[in-house]
Protein backbone atom coordinates (compact mmCIF):
# COMPACT_ATOMS: atom_id res chain seq x y z
CA UNK A 1 0.00 0.00 0.00
CA UNK A 2 1.66 3.22 -1.07
CA UNK A 3 -0.63 5.92 0.31
CA UNK A 4 -3.35 6.00 2.94
CA UNK A 5 -5.62 7.94 0.63
CA UNK A 6 -5.67 4.98 -1.76
CA UNK A 7 -7.48 2.79 0.75
CA UNK A 8 -11.10 2.79 -0.36
CA UNK A 9 -13.53 3.89 2.34
CA UNK A 10 -17.23 4.15 1.75
CA UNK A 11 -19.64 5.01 4.55
CA UNK A 12 -23.13 3.74 4.05
CA UNK A 13 -25.63 6.38 5.16
CA UNK A 14 -28.23 5.34 7.72
CA UNK A 15 -31.47 3.95 6.35
CA UNK A 16 -33.37 6.80 4.68
CA UNK A 17 -37.04 7.62 4.99
CA UNK A 18 -38.39 9.99 2.33
CA UNK A 19 -34.95 11.22 1.28
CA UNK A 20 -33.65 12.09 4.77
CA UNK A 21 -32.55 9.95 7.74
CA UNK A 22 -35.13 8.80 10.27
CA UNK A 23 -33.59 11.08 12.90
CA UNK A 24 -34.10 14.13 10.69
CA UNK A 25 -37.74 13.24 10.08
CA UNK A 26 -38.29 12.91 13.83
CA UNK A 27 -36.76 16.33 14.52
CA UNK A 28 -38.77 18.04 11.77
CA UNK A 29 -41.91 16.52 13.22
CA UNK A 30 -40.94 17.66 16.73
CA UNK A 31 -40.32 21.18 15.38
CA UNK A 32 -43.88 21.36 14.07
CA UNK A 33 -45.18 20.55 17.57
CA UNK A 34 -42.85 23.11 19.19
CA UNK A 35 -43.79 25.83 16.67
CA UNK A 36 -47.49 25.23 17.27
CA UNK A 37 -46.84 25.54 21.00
CA UNK A 38 -44.95 28.80 20.45
CA UNK A 39 -47.83 30.18 18.40
CA UNK A 40 -50.60 29.03 20.72
CA UNK A 41 -49.06 29.38 24.18
CA UNK A 42 -46.00 31.61 23.64
CA UNK A 43 -43.75 28.81 24.95
CA UNK A 44 -40.17 28.79 23.69
CA UNK A 45 -38.23 25.53 23.44
CA UNK A 46 -34.91 24.21 22.25
CA UNK A 47 -33.42 21.00 20.92
CA UNK A 48 -29.83 20.20 21.85
CA UNK A 49 -28.35 18.69 18.70
CA UNK A 50 -25.36 17.26 20.57
CA UNK A 51 -27.58 15.11 22.75
CA UNK A 52 -28.99 13.25 19.76
CA UNK A 53 -27.34 10.24 18.11
CA UNK A 54 -26.96 11.92 14.73
CA UNK A 55 -24.40 11.11 12.07
CA UNK A 56 -22.64 13.88 10.15
CA UNK A 57 -24.92 13.07 7.21
CA UNK A 58 -28.01 13.44 9.41
CA UNK A 59 -26.85 16.82 10.65
CA UNK A 60 -26.09 18.05 7.13
CA UNK A 61 -29.50 16.77 6.00
CA UNK A 62 -31.27 18.64 8.79
CA UNK A 63 -29.38 21.83 7.96
CA UNK A 64 -30.41 21.47 4.31
CA UNK A 65 -34.04 20.88 5.21
CA UNK A 66 -34.21 23.96 7.45
CA UNK A 67 -32.23 26.21 5.11
CA UNK A 68 -31.30 29.86 5.72
CA UNK A 69 -33.65 32.67 6.71
CA UNK A 70 -33.33 36.43 6.81
CA UNK A 71 -31.62 37.03 10.17
CA UNK A 72 -28.01 36.32 11.07
CA UNK A 73 -26.41 37.53 14.30
CA UNK A 74 -22.87 37.14 15.58
CA UNK A 75 -22.36 37.18 19.35
CA UNK A 76 -18.82 37.99 20.47
CA UNK A 77 -18.60 36.82 24.10
CA UNK A 78 -16.00 34.27 25.24
CA UNK A 79 -15.70 33.25 21.57
CA UNK A 80 -17.99 33.75 18.60
CA UNK A 81 -21.53 32.43 18.37
CA UNK A 82 -23.56 32.32 15.17
CA UNK A 83 -27.30 32.75 15.63
CA UNK A 84 -29.31 32.34 12.43
CA UNK A 85 -32.99 32.14 11.74
CA UNK A 86 -33.71 29.29 9.38
CA UNK A 87 -36.10 29.55 6.44
CA UNK A 88 -38.73 28.34 8.90
CA UNK A 89 -39.81 31.47 10.83
CA UNK A 90 -39.35 31.03 14.58
CA UNK A 91 -36.77 28.26 14.17
CA UNK A 92 -33.23 29.40 14.97
CA UNK A 93 -29.97 27.50 14.50
CA UNK A 94 -27.53 28.48 17.26
CA UNK A 95 -23.83 27.56 17.28
CA UNK A 96 -21.69 28.53 20.28
CA UNK A 97 -17.91 28.41 19.89
CA UNK A 98 -15.23 28.99 22.51
CA UNK A 99 -12.25 31.34 22.22
CA UNK A 100 -10.35 28.69 20.26
CA UNK A 101 -13.15 28.36 17.71
CA UNK A 102 -14.23 24.94 19.01
CA UNK A 103 -17.94 24.18 18.82
CA UNK A 104 -19.18 23.89 22.42
CA UNK A 105 -22.94 23.83 21.91
CA UNK A 106 -25.27 23.49 18.95
CA UNK A 107 -28.98 24.05 19.41
CA UNK A 108 -32.15 24.60 17.48
CA UNK A 109 -34.24 27.17 19.34
CA UNK A 110 -37.93 27.60 18.67
CA UNK A 111 -38.62 31.13 19.81
CA UNK A 112 -39.44 34.64 18.62
CA UNK A 113 -35.92 35.75 19.59
CA UNK A 114 -33.15 33.69 21.27
CA UNK A 115 -32.86 34.81 24.88
CA UNK A 116 -29.09 35.30 24.71
CA UNK A 117 -29.60 38.14 22.18
CA UNK A 118 -32.00 40.10 24.37
CA UNK A 119 -30.67 42.79 26.70
CA UNK A 120 -31.21 42.02 30.40
CA UNK A 121 -33.01 44.53 32.64
CA UNK A 122 -29.96 45.11 34.85
CA UNK A 123 -27.88 45.78 31.75
CA UNK A 124 -30.27 48.57 30.74
CA UNK A 125 -29.46 50.32 34.04
CA UNK A 126 -25.75 49.80 33.32
CA UNK A 127 -26.33 51.41 29.92
CA UNK A 128 -27.93 54.46 31.51
CA UNK A 129 -24.97 54.84 33.90
CA UNK A 130 -22.49 54.41 31.08
CA UNK A 131 -24.11 57.07 28.88
CA UNK A 132 -24.42 59.52 31.79
CA UNK A 133 -20.72 59.06 32.57
CA UNK A 134 -19.83 59.60 28.91
CA UNK A 135 -22.04 62.65 28.65
CA UNK A 136 -20.41 64.12 31.73
CA UNK A 137 -17.13 64.14 29.82
CA UNK A 138 -18.74 65.86 26.81
CA UNK A 139 -17.62 69.54 26.40
CA UNK A 140 -21.19 70.86 25.98
CA UNK A 141 -22.49 68.98 29.04
CA UNK A 142 -19.52 70.13 31.13
CA UNK A 143 -20.21 73.74 30.21
CA UNK A 144 -23.82 73.54 31.48
Amino acid sequence: MSRLSEIPIRIEPPPAVGGVGGGVTAILSELITLLERLGDRQESAAIDLRSLPMSIDDLAGLRRELGEGEVRAILDAEGLSAIRETKVPGVWWVEHRDRHGELIAELIEVTRMPQILMTATEEIATGVRLLRAQLALHPVARAQ
Partner: protein, 373 residues
Protein backbone atom coordinates in the same frame (compact mmCIF):
# COMPACT_ATOMS: atom_id res chain seq x y z
CA UNK B 1 -11.91 46.08 51.92
CA UNK B 2 -11.50 43.43 49.20
CA UNK B 3 -13.38 40.18 49.77
CA UNK B 4 -11.28 37.12 50.49
CA UNK B 5 -11.20 34.23 48.07
CA UNK B 6 -13.36 32.21 50.45
CA UNK B 7 -16.12 34.83 50.44
CA UNK B 8 -16.20 35.45 46.71
CA UNK B 9 -19.16 34.29 44.67
CA UNK B 10 -18.94 33.05 41.12
CA UNK B 11 -20.43 36.39 40.02
CA UNK B 12 -17.63 38.28 41.80
CA UNK B 13 -15.03 36.20 40.00
CA UNK B 14 -16.72 36.71 36.64
CA UNK B 15 -16.76 40.48 37.12
CA UNK B 16 -13.11 40.36 38.20
CA UNK B 17 -12.22 38.50 34.99
CA UNK B 18 -14.33 40.74 32.75
CA UNK B 19 -16.71 37.98 31.66
CA UNK B 20 -20.10 39.28 30.47
CA UNK B 21 -23.55 37.93 31.30
CA UNK B 22 -23.95 36.64 27.75
CA UNK B 23 -20.52 35.00 27.93
CA UNK B 24 -21.51 33.23 31.14
CA UNK B 25 -24.92 32.16 29.77
CA UNK B 26 -23.05 30.70 26.84
CA UNK B 27 -20.69 28.85 29.20
CA UNK B 28 -23.65 27.45 31.12
CA UNK B 29 -25.54 26.52 27.93
CA UNK B 30 -22.52 24.54 26.78
CA UNK B 31 -22.20 22.93 30.20
CA UNK B 32 -25.91 22.02 30.23
CA UNK B 33 -25.47 20.49 26.79
CA UNK B 34 -22.49 18.48 28.04
CA UNK B 35 -24.57 17.33 31.00
CA UNK B 36 -27.42 16.26 28.71
CA UNK B 37 -29.71 18.69 30.54
CA UNK B 38 -32.49 20.55 28.71
CA UNK B 39 -31.05 23.60 26.89
CA UNK B 40 -33.29 25.97 28.89
CA UNK B 41 -31.40 24.93 32.04
CA UNK B 42 -28.35 26.89 30.86
CA UNK B 43 -29.90 30.27 31.64
CA UNK B 44 -31.30 29.11 35.01
CA UNK B 45 -27.91 27.61 35.88
CA UNK B 46 -26.17 30.91 35.07
CA UNK B 47 -28.56 32.86 37.31
CA UNK B 48 -28.08 30.44 40.20
CA UNK B 49 -24.32 30.11 39.88
CA UNK B 50 -23.72 33.86 39.86
CA UNK B 51 -24.79 34.00 43.52
CA UNK B 52 -23.08 30.74 44.59
CA UNK B 53 -19.86 30.61 46.64
CA UNK B 54 -16.93 28.88 44.98
CA UNK B 55 -16.35 25.60 46.81
CA UNK B 56 -12.90 24.46 47.82
CA UNK B 57 -11.83 21.40 45.85
CA UNK B 58 -9.00 19.01 46.75
CA UNK B 59 -7.73 16.54 44.15
CA UNK B 60 -5.91 13.47 45.47
CA UNK B 61 -4.04 11.13 43.14
CA UNK B 62 -3.33 7.57 44.26
CA UNK B 63 -2.66 4.39 42.28
CA UNK B 64 -3.30 5.76 38.80
CA UNK B 65 -1.70 6.63 35.48
CA UNK B 66 -2.71 10.35 35.37
CA UNK B 67 -4.81 9.61 32.28
CA UNK B 68 -7.90 10.92 34.09
CA UNK B 69 -6.24 14.25 34.88
CA UNK B 70 -4.93 14.41 31.30
CA UNK B 71 -8.53 13.93 30.19
CA UNK B 72 -9.87 16.56 32.61
CA UNK B 73 -7.46 19.20 31.34
CA UNK B 74 -8.88 18.69 27.84
CA UNK B 75 -12.45 19.59 28.73
CA UNK B 76 -13.92 21.93 26.13
CA UNK B 77 -17.18 22.92 27.81
CA UNK B 78 -16.71 23.90 30.51
CA UNK B 79 -12.97 24.33 30.08
CA UNK B 80 -10.90 23.43 33.09
CA UNK B 81 -9.43 26.93 33.32
CA UNK B 82 -12.92 28.44 33.34
CA UNK B 83 -13.94 26.02 36.06
CA UNK B 84 -10.81 26.60 38.15
CA UNK B 85 -10.72 30.39 37.82
CA UNK B 86 -14.43 31.14 38.08
CA UNK B 87 -16.50 28.34 39.55
CA UNK B 88 -14.33 26.35 41.97
CA UNK B 89 -11.30 27.02 44.10
CA UNK B 90 -8.85 24.21 43.35
CA UNK B 91 -6.79 24.30 46.52
CA UNK B 92 -4.77 21.11 46.09
CA UNK B 93 -3.71 19.01 43.13
CA UNK B 94 -0.17 17.74 43.42
CA UNK B 95 0.18 17.40 39.64
CA UNK B 96 -1.16 20.80 38.58
CA UNK B 97 -0.11 23.02 41.48
CA UNK B 98 3.11 24.99 41.41
CA UNK B 99 3.93 24.24 45.05
CA UNK B 100 5.66 20.99 46.02
CA UNK B 101 6.79 19.13 49.12
CA UNK B 102 6.02 20.73 52.51
CA UNK B 103 4.39 23.80 50.92
CA UNK B 104 1.95 21.66 48.93
CA UNK B 105 1.04 19.47 51.88
CA UNK B 106 0.51 22.45 54.17
CA UNK B 107 -1.77 24.04 51.50
CA UNK B 108 -3.87 20.88 51.62
CA UNK B 109 -4.04 20.87 55.42
CA UNK B 110 -4.97 24.57 55.46
CA UNK B 111 -7.74 24.13 52.88
CA UNK B 112 -9.12 21.14 54.82
CA UNK B 113 -9.12 23.14 58.04
CA UNK B 114 -10.67 26.31 56.53
CA UNK B 115 -13.40 24.44 54.68
CA UNK B 116 -14.06 21.50 57.00
CA UNK B 117 -17.37 19.84 56.13
CA UNK B 118 -17.73 21.88 52.93
CA UNK B 119 -14.99 20.94 50.49
CA UNK B 120 -15.30 18.59 47.55
CA UNK B 121 -12.76 15.78 47.52
CA UNK B 122 -11.82 14.38 44.13
CA UNK B 123 -10.00 11.06 44.16
CA UNK B 124 -8.15 9.68 41.16
CA UNK B 125 -6.78 6.13 41.36
CA UNK B 126 -7.40 3.05 43.44
CA UNK B 127 -6.19 2.68 47.01
CA UNK B 128 -3.63 -0.08 47.61
CA UNK B 129 -3.86 -1.66 51.04
CA UNK B 130 -1.23 -4.42 50.70
CA UNK B 131 2.04 -4.24 52.66
CA UNK B 132 0.48 -1.75 55.04
CA UNK B 133 -0.31 0.64 52.20
CA UNK B 134 3.36 0.92 51.19
CA UNK B 135 2.60 0.58 47.43
CA UNK B 136 1.45 4.21 47.24
CA UNK B 137 2.78 6.89 49.58
CA UNK B 138 3.23 10.67 49.40
CA UNK B 139 4.96 12.79 52.02
CA UNK B 140 5.62 9.65 54.04
CA UNK B 141 1.92 8.78 54.35
CA UNK B 142 0.06 5.96 52.66
CA UNK B 143 -2.81 6.57 50.24
CA UNK B 144 -5.28 4.84 52.53
CA UNK B 145 -4.23 7.00 55.48
CA UNK B 146 -4.46 10.24 53.43
CA UNK B 147 -7.85 9.24 52.02
CA UNK B 148 -9.36 8.48 55.43
CA UNK B 149 -8.11 11.79 56.80
CA UNK B 150 -9.27 13.90 53.84
CA UNK B 151 -12.66 12.16 53.67
CA UNK B 152 -13.55 13.26 57.21
CA UNK B 153 -14.19 16.92 56.29
CA UNK B 154 -15.52 16.38 52.75
CA UNK B 155 -19.06 17.39 51.78
CA UNK B 156 -18.87 14.82 48.99
CA UNK B 157 -16.30 12.63 47.28
CA UNK B 158 -16.08 12.49 43.50
CA UNK B 159 -14.22 9.42 42.28
CA UNK B 160 -12.73 10.27 38.91
CA UNK B 161 -11.93 7.26 36.74
CA UNK B 162 -12.63 3.56 36.95
CA UNK B 163 -9.68 2.98 39.32
CA UNK B 164 -11.08 5.09 42.15
CA UNK B 165 -14.68 4.16 41.32
CA UNK B 166 -14.34 0.39 40.88
CA UNK B 167 -10.65 -0.46 41.39
CA UNK B 168 -9.82 -0.43 37.68
CA UNK B 169 -6.65 -2.00 36.35
CA UNK B 170 -4.84 -2.22 39.74
CA UNK B 171 -7.86 -4.14 41.08
CA UNK B 172 -7.76 -6.61 38.15
CA UNK B 173 -6.86 -10.22 38.85
CA UNK B 174 -4.47 -10.99 40.57
CA UNK B 175 -4.55 -7.54 42.24
CA UNK B 176 -0.99 -7.73 43.59
CA UNK B 177 -1.22 -4.51 45.63
CA UNK B 178 -4.58 -5.39 47.22
CA UNK B 179 -6.11 -2.31 45.63
CA UNK B 180 -9.67 -1.20 46.44
CA UNK B 181 -12.07 1.42 45.16
CA UNK B 182 -12.77 4.44 47.39
CA UNK B 183 -16.28 3.25 48.27
CA UNK B 184 -14.79 0.09 49.81
CA UNK B 185 -12.80 2.25 52.24
CA UNK B 186 -15.02 5.29 52.94
CA UNK B 187 -18.53 4.35 53.97
CA UNK B 188 -19.97 7.46 55.60
CA UNK B 189 -19.79 10.12 52.87
CA UNK B 190 -21.76 10.79 49.68
CA UNK B 191 -19.72 9.28 46.85
CA UNK B 192 -20.20 10.11 43.17
CA UNK B 193 -18.46 7.73 40.77
CA UNK B 194 -17.41 9.22 37.45
CA UNK B 195 -16.06 6.07 35.85
CA UNK B 196 -14.22 5.59 32.58
CA UNK B 197 -10.67 4.82 31.61
CA UNK B 198 -10.40 7.75 31.39
CA UNK B 199 -13.77 9.43 31.92
CA UNK B 200 -15.02 11.88 29.29
CA UNK B 201 -13.60 15.30 30.35
CA UNK B 202 -16.97 17.07 30.07
CA UNK B 203 -18.52 14.39 32.27
CA UNK B 204 -15.98 15.17 35.02
CA UNK B 205 -16.39 18.96 34.79
CA UNK B 206 -20.14 18.65 34.25
CA UNK B 207 -20.55 16.54 37.41
CA UNK B 208 -18.57 19.10 39.42
CA UNK B 209 -20.57 21.97 37.95
CA UNK B 210 -23.85 20.25 38.71
CA UNK B 211 -22.81 19.72 42.33
CA UNK B 212 -21.71 23.35 42.65
CA UNK B 213 -24.92 24.64 41.05
CA UNK B 214 -27.36 22.62 43.11
CA UNK B 215 -25.25 21.88 46.21
CA UNK B 216 -26.65 18.36 46.05
CA UNK B 217 -25.47 14.95 44.96
CA UNK B 218 -27.10 14.24 41.58
CA UNK B 219 -29.36 11.24 40.96
CA UNK B 220 -27.11 8.19 40.85
CA UNK B 221 -27.43 4.71 39.35
CA UNK B 222 -26.74 1.47 41.24
CA UNK B 223 -22.99 2.02 40.78
CA UNK B 224 -23.27 5.58 42.18
CA UNK B 225 -22.76 7.17 38.75
CA UNK B 226 -24.68 10.35 37.77
CA UNK B 227 -27.71 9.24 35.78
CA UNK B 228 -27.52 12.26 33.47
CA UNK B 229 -24.33 10.84 32.00
CA UNK B 230 -24.65 7.13 32.73
CA UNK B 231 -28.40 6.66 32.21
CA UNK B 232 -28.12 5.11 28.75
CA UNK B 233 -25.94 2.46 27.24
CA UNK B 234 -23.54 3.36 24.45
CA UNK B 235 -25.63 1.02 22.29
CA UNK B 236 -28.86 2.94 23.07
CA UNK B 237 -27.44 6.15 21.64
CA UNK B 238 -25.09 4.76 18.98
CA UNK B 239 -25.50 6.08 15.46
CA UNK B 240 -24.69 2.54 14.21
CA UNK B 241 -27.68 1.13 16.08
CA UNK B 242 -29.88 0.95 12.91
CA UNK B 243 -27.39 -1.57 11.47
CA UNK B 244 -27.62 -3.71 14.61
CA UNK B 245 -31.41 -3.70 14.27
CA UNK B 246 -31.07 -4.75 10.62
CA UNK B 247 -28.58 -7.53 11.47
CA UNK B 248 -25.73 -5.87 9.54
CA UNK B 249 -22.46 -6.62 11.32
CA UNK B 250 -18.79 -6.12 10.45
CA UNK B 251 -17.03 -9.51 10.72
CA UNK B 252 -13.48 -8.16 10.67
CA UNK B 253 -11.91 -4.72 10.89
CA UNK B 254 -11.21 -4.57 7.16
CA UNK B 255 -14.18 -6.28 5.56
CA UNK B 256 -16.99 -4.77 3.50
CA UNK B 257 -19.19 -4.34 6.60
CA UNK B 258 -16.49 -2.39 8.46
CA UNK B 259 -16.00 -0.12 5.44
CA UNK B 260 -19.74 0.44 5.30
CA UNK B 261 -19.81 1.49 8.94
CA UNK B 262 -21.93 -1.46 10.12
CA UNK B 263 -22.37 -2.51 13.75
CA UNK B 264 -19.21 -3.71 15.56
CA UNK B 265 -21.00 -6.09 17.96
CA UNK B 266 -19.37 -9.23 16.56
CA UNK B 267 -15.94 -7.59 16.81
CA UNK B 268 -16.32 -7.33 20.56
CA UNK B 269 -18.15 -4.01 21.02
CA UNK B 270 -19.36 -3.82 24.63
CA UNK B 271 -21.76 -0.95 23.86
CA UNK B 272 -24.90 -2.93 24.76
CA UNK B 273 -23.85 -3.36 28.41
CA UNK B 274 -21.81 -0.20 28.91
CA UNK B 275 -23.37 2.87 30.45
CA UNK B 276 -21.65 6.10 29.46
CA UNK B 277 -22.12 9.26 27.40
CA UNK B 278 -19.51 8.58 24.68
CA UNK B 279 -22.12 8.34 21.90
CA UNK B 280 -23.62 11.75 22.68
CA UNK B 281 -21.06 13.94 24.47
CA UNK B 282 -18.23 12.30 22.47
CA UNK B 283 -14.51 13.11 22.82
CA UNK B 284 -12.15 15.90 21.82
CA UNK B 285 -14.75 18.62 21.93
CA UNK B 286 -17.47 16.45 20.40
CA UNK B 287 -15.35 15.31 17.45
CA UNK B 288 -16.04 11.57 17.64
CA UNK B 289 -15.92 8.50 19.87
CA UNK B 290 -14.23 5.10 19.52
CA UNK B 291 -17.08 3.46 17.58
CA UNK B 292 -17.14 6.40 15.17
CA UNK B 293 -13.44 5.75 14.60
CA UNK B 294 -14.10 2.10 13.77
CA UNK B 295 -13.29 0.40 17.09
CA UNK B 296 -15.80 -1.23 19.39
CA UNK B 297 -16.47 0.01 22.91
CA UNK B 298 -14.28 -1.80 25.48
CA UNK B 299 -16.68 -1.14 28.35
CA UNK B 300 -14.18 0.86 30.39
CA UNK B 301 -16.79 2.60 32.57
CA UNK B 302 -18.16 -0.68 33.93
CA UNK B 303 -16.96 -2.43 37.10
CA UNK B 304 -14.40 -5.17 36.44
CA UNK B 305 -14.11 -4.36 32.74
CA UNK B 306 -10.50 -5.53 32.71
CA UNK B 307 -11.45 -9.05 33.86
CA UNK B 308 -14.33 -9.63 31.45
CA UNK B 309 -12.34 -11.37 28.73
CA UNK B 310 -11.06 -10.22 25.36
CA UNK B 311 -12.01 -6.78 24.08
CA UNK B 312 -12.29 -8.41 20.66
CA UNK B 313 -14.55 -11.34 21.51
CA UNK B 314 -18.25 -10.88 20.88
CA UNK B 315 -20.07 -10.11 24.08
CA UNK B 316 -21.86 -13.45 24.12
CA UNK B 317 -18.42 -15.11 24.27
CA UNK B 318 -16.70 -12.68 26.59
CA UNK B 319 -19.39 -12.95 29.25
CA UNK B 320 -18.40 -16.56 29.88
CA UNK B 321 -15.51 -15.51 32.10
CA UNK B 322 -12.05 -15.13 30.64
CA UNK B 323 -12.29 -16.19 27.02
CA UNK B 324 -9.41 -18.41 26.03
CA UNK B 325 -8.29 -18.99 29.61
CA UNK B 326 -11.10 -21.13 30.98
CA UNK B 327 -11.38 -24.71 29.80
CA UNK B 328 -14.65 -25.84 28.22
CA UNK B 329 -15.27 -27.90 31.35
CA UNK B 330 -14.81 -24.80 33.53
CA UNK B 331 -17.17 -22.87 31.30
CA UNK B 332 -19.78 -25.60 31.61
CA UNK B 333 -19.38 -25.69 35.38
CA UNK B 334 -19.63 -21.92 35.57
CA UNK B 335 -22.76 -21.81 33.47
CA UNK B 336 -24.37 -24.68 35.37
CA UNK B 337 -23.77 -23.02 38.73
CA UNK B 338 -24.86 -19.59 37.50
CA UNK B 339 -28.10 -20.61 35.88
CA UNK B 340 -29.70 -23.93 36.80
CA UNK B 341 -31.73 -24.21 33.64
CA UNK B 342 -31.42 -27.17 31.31
CA UNK B 343 -31.64 -25.04 28.19
CA UNK B 344 -28.50 -23.16 29.10
CA UNK B 345 -26.37 -26.23 28.37
CA UNK B 346 -26.90 -25.75 24.67
CA UNK B 347 -25.75 -22.14 24.93
CA UNK B 348 -22.83 -23.15 27.12
CA UNK B 349 -21.79 -25.73 24.53
CA UNK B 350 -21.79 -23.01 21.90
CA UNK B 351 -19.71 -20.85 24.24
CA UNK B 352 -17.34 -23.73 24.85
CA UNK B 353 -16.99 -24.25 21.14
CA UNK B 354 -16.08 -20.57 20.71
CA UNK B 355 -13.58 -20.88 23.53
CA UNK B 356 -11.97 -23.86 21.85
CA UNK B 357 -11.70 -21.89 18.62
CA UNK B 358 -10.25 -18.95 20.51
CA UNK B 359 -7.73 -21.12 22.33
CA UNK B 360 -6.73 -22.86 19.09
CA UNK B 361 -6.17 -19.46 17.52
CA UNK B 362 -4.11 -18.37 20.51
CA UNK B 363 -2.07 -21.57 20.39
CA UNK B 364 -1.44 -21.01 16.69
CA UNK B 365 -0.36 -17.41 17.39
CA UNK B 366 1.95 -18.66 20.14
CA UNK B 367 3.48 -21.25 17.79
CA UNK B 368 3.99 -18.53 15.16
CA UNK B 369 5.69 -16.22 17.63
CA UNK B 370 7.91 -19.09 18.79
CA UNK B 371 8.88 -19.77 15.20
CA UNK B 372 7.32 -23.27 15.27
CA UNK B 373 6.08 -24.82 12.06
Amino acid sequence: MPRSDLEMTVGDMLRQHGISRRGFIKFCTAAASAMALPPSVGVAMAEQLIHARRPSVLYLSFQECTGCLESLTRSFAPTIENLIFNVISLDYDDTLMAAAGEAAESARMQAMQDNFGKYVLIVDGSVPTGAGGAYCTAGGRSAVETLREAAKGAAAIVCVGTCSAFGGIPFADPNPTEAWPVMAIVGDKPIINVSGCPPIPEVITGTLLQFVTTGKVPDLDEHRRPKVFFGNTIHDRCYRRPFYDQGKFAKSFDDEGARNGWCLYELGCKGPTTYNACATVKWNGGTSFPIESGHGCIGCSEPGFWDKGSFYAAQSTALWGKAGESSPREVLELSASAVAVGGVIGVASAGASRLRQHRSAQDADQRDSNGDN
